[in-house]
């Protein structure tokens, strides 16, 4: 029998990929709740969603590059 560890290995890029949409959902919900409670309106604050998405995308790009390693020039 194979007794090696079967636990799934999660990379940083997997983590970012998995949490991006949930974070966007939370941010969107928070913006609507802020609007309904008398704070700044969604019409003004919606670009925050773009910023969250952009940060997640940048992290994903950065972690993916790290996991692939540096490029080796072909000989």
């Amino acid at each position: 029998m194979d007794y090696t560890d079967q636990r799934p290995t999660l990379t940083a890029a997997d983590t970012v990929r998995a949490v991006t949409v949930p974070l966007l959902l939370i941010a969107a919900g928070a913006l609507f709740l802020l609007d309904y409670s008398g704070g700044p309106g969604v019409r003004k604050t919606w670009p925050i969603l773009l910023i969250v998405w952009g940060v997640a995308w940048a992290l994903l790009y950065s972690f993916s590059r790290q996991e692939k390693g540096p490029r080796v020039p072909e000989s």
Binding site: P22, L23, A28, G29
Partner: protein
Amino acid sequence: MQTRRSLFGPILLITLGAALLWHNLNPQISLLAVFADYWPWILVLWGGFRLVEFAASALLGRRPPEPLGGGAVLAAIFLCFAGSAAHSLSGNHFEFIDWTMGRSGWLDQEYDYPVRHEQAIAAGQGVLIRNFDGRVRIVGSELPGLRVAGRKRVRAFDDDAAARIEERGLLEFSAQAQQLVVQPRPMAERDQRRLSYDVDIELPTGTPLQIEGAQGRIDIRGLTQSVTLHGSASVEIADIGGAVRIKARRSQRIAARRLGSTLEIDGRVRHVEAEELAGSLTIDGNGVDSVHLAKLGQPVRLRFNNTEIELQKLAGEIEISPRSIEILDAAGPLMLHSRGSRGRQIRLEKIDGALVVDAQRGDLLWIAGENPAAAEIKLERGDITVRLDPDAVFSVEASTARGNASQEFGPALQIEDRGRAATLRGGRDQGPLLKLETGRGDLKVERTESAVSRAVEI
């Protein structure tokens, strides 16, 4: 790496079933109203649940749930639309998407509250009325102070919400720099939109009045001092002794009658009426659909929608619509400048004094009568017709680049046809010169009696 499905879907289904069951057992509670206010929590809980699931699977070494894909994103967007629609339709003003198109909520009711206040005014103190929405009638009276009486109307979903808004919108009186300021307490815009007034305000006749941020409809009458108004309200103003200045933001109608001094209107307003003004009138606006003016004793200067009119006095009337300009019984010099691709029919009658017209499109009829003054009329495109009494004294220099010329004064006037163009020259006893020019259109110099007989025949 193998993944597993999230538990959020089943939990949401169970919650929905429980909510519907709760509603069936308590039908007096509106699920729509609850959803309308609390739906963003679904997004927050959905995202939070996914994060917890992911963290738990990472800590416990289990397979993580499938990442949310395009279907989930579409479902979230649909939820945002449905939630914001429900929020708007249940009576909340919500600017992200205004599903109500500016109307009040479907589930709203109207609640009325009485308003009655009295406030002393110091000698020489003016009154500033600020941020009123609704119908306000302001009347000068012999009272020593200011009196507000009427009712306040609140649109709200239920009694509690109405009472809350009513309490927030209490009237405030404060003294600022020689002015008594009357205004509802500052409140959130969404509450402000639900509150309107229907009140009579009486103040001493000699009080200078200033109004700011007005919406709805305002009637002002019986004051001897100046009135200044900024806002988007429709305004009816009459019997005012001092100067009146109105800066309209998007007013439907401004009507002024029997003013003892000047009237200045600028900004965006659709319909303007002014009658019996002792002072000058200036309109510098845009978006104007119609103008009715009558009996103005001092110079008139109108400038709006590519149209400019200046004259010295108006004993008769001026009617302006999107398709026509009519001026009857005015003292000049009269200057009329009209641009715009749609063109306007122009009719001038009983103009006493010099006349200068420069218009782009549209026909012009000038009933000059017995004693025409010097005139310079230039159209880019349109017929020019001048009607004169048979014994009128005048000379004429007229040309059309493309059209015909005709006249009813016999050999005193000569017509010369030059292919498509034509000229008309001549005169009687060196009278005032009528200079007529059109780029494309006919020229007619007619006798008034002929025009009358033609009309009778028709």
